[in-house]
């Protein structure tokens, strides 16, 4: 079913020709949107409470929204369905923010091997990987259509064979697509997995 996993030529080669083997790492997102949204909400909440405290402290009567919030907090017990639901939502949001903070993100960008580029950091979009594999698939004789899913670790190609033996078509696809994958210069070339079926 699947081609032999990429025969790791890259780490060995990189270690041989460069004194410090530059292991390309994942791209880490800045998390700009999440930061901006969280900052906006936090600034709004802190600003509103600060404003209201100052307002009351300078001898004014509390605004309606403040009295509504404080009476809501005082009237609802902890086992109230709304309180429990809100607490669960807060837990989920908190977990999500922690996941955002600790994971690299930018999953569509696959690191490329910087060897021979003069010290570039480069990434290839998964869409480009899929497009190249799709194109190469359609160049194999007997293949009429194909669907390609390019993942981080493996690429799955579903090809429709409209003439010829399935086994032969698959062998041809595996060798063609492995060669195509090796032209991409990815730091961790994905394994090629080919599935064939009749096109009728």
């Amino acid at each position: 079913m699947s081609a032999p996993a990429p025969a790791a030529p890259f780490p060995a080669a990189a270690e041989l020709d460069q004194p410090p083997p530059l292991r390309p790492r994942r791209f880490w997102s800045v998390r700009r949107n999440a930061a901006a949204l969280t900052g906006l909400i936090a600034a709004f909440l802190a600003g509103a409470v600060l404003y209201e405290e100052v307002y009351i402290h300078t001898g004014h009567n509390a605004h309606g929204w403040r009295t509504r919030i404080t009476s809501t907090l005082a009237d609802h017990s902890l086992n109230d369905a709304w309180v429990i639901a809100s607490a669960a939502v807060a837990c989920a949001l908190g977990l999500w923010l922690l996941v955002l903070a600790t994971t690299p993100g930018l999953r569509t960008l696959l690191p490329m091997d910087p060897a021979g580029t003069g010290g570039l950091t480069a990434g290839l979009e998964r869409g480009a990987v899929a497009a190249l594999l799709h194109r190469a698939t359609l160049e194999v004789p007997g293949i009429s259509a194909a669907k390609v899913r390019a993942g981080r670790r493996r690429a799955v190609i579903r090809a429709d064979v409209h003439f010829g033996e399935h086994e032969e078509a698959r062998a041809a696809l595996v060798s063609t697509l492995s060669a195509e994958r090796d032209r991409m210069g990815l730091a961790r070339p994905p394994a090629i997995k080919v599935k064939v079926r009749s096109s009728r």
Partner: protein, 212 residues
């Protein structure tokens, strides 16, 4: 990174983690109280735990105004709220900057100047340099579009390149050509020998055709 403060990524991720811990902690506290988990699971929570009884109110008026008589209460409340609001505002505004490097000082070509860390007094416009790099990269075989930006500070610029590959062009080869061509030329012509470059390659949109 350490030479010029923590990066925006580090700041963003640290503050996101803090916000996540606050939300998660508050949610877990409320759930422990609301679902009576202390009694059910025999957690053995310490004395003075805020929410233990499922029938207790979230925040009564008595609890809310408990410390009002103390002399430290209002200064602490105002200071904490002001710090939180300003920090959040600063964090928000820090996301709005596009992070362009602006105009870059070009190192002096004379070795004796360079050893004394003299500035040559010559600036190159960041936008102009970026446009030149982008146009140069767009001429590469197999590349149909290229856009370059110079990010970071003028003293520590870094280049970002977005390349669009022609259908079927080999990414590895395009990257090698980019490194020995446009990037090497840009580094040599500006004297920014260590200019860090990040390139992102994607494919031209469009349907793949059955090869006849």
């Amino acid at each position: 990174m350490s030479r010029h403060g923590p990066s925006r990524t580090t700041v963003n991720r640290t503050l996101l983690a803090v916000a996540g811990i606050v939300l998660l902690g508050g949610g877990v506290l409320a759930l422990i109280g609301g679902l009576n988990l202390d009694a059910r699971w025999h957690l053995g929570l310490p004395q003075g735990w805020p929410w233990t009884d499922p029938h207790q109110a979230v925040l009564t008026a008595a609890e809310r105004t408990r410390w009002r008589g103390s002399s430290w209460w209002w200064p602490v409340v105002f200071a904490a709220l002001a710090v939180a609001a300003l920090l959040a505002l600063w964090w928000l505004l820090a996301q709005l900057g596009r992070g362009r490097a602006g105009d870059l000082p070009v190192p002096s070509p004379l070795p004796e100047d360079r050893s004394r860390r003299h500035r040559s007094g010559t600036l190159v416009r960041g936008k102009a340099l970026a446009r030149v790099i982008g146009e140069d990269a767009g001429q590469l075989p197999g590349v149909t579009g290229a856009r370059a930006r110079l990010l970071g500070k003028a003293s520590h610029p870094r280049a970002r390149l977005d390349l669009i590959l022609a259908p079927g062009a080999a990414p590895a080869e395009a990257l090698r050509e980019l490194g020995v061509g446009p990037i090497a030329r840009a580094r040599a012509s500006t004297g920014l020998a260590a200019l860090p470059v990040q390139a992102r390659l994607r494919a031209e949109d469009g349907p793949a055709r059955r090869a006849e």
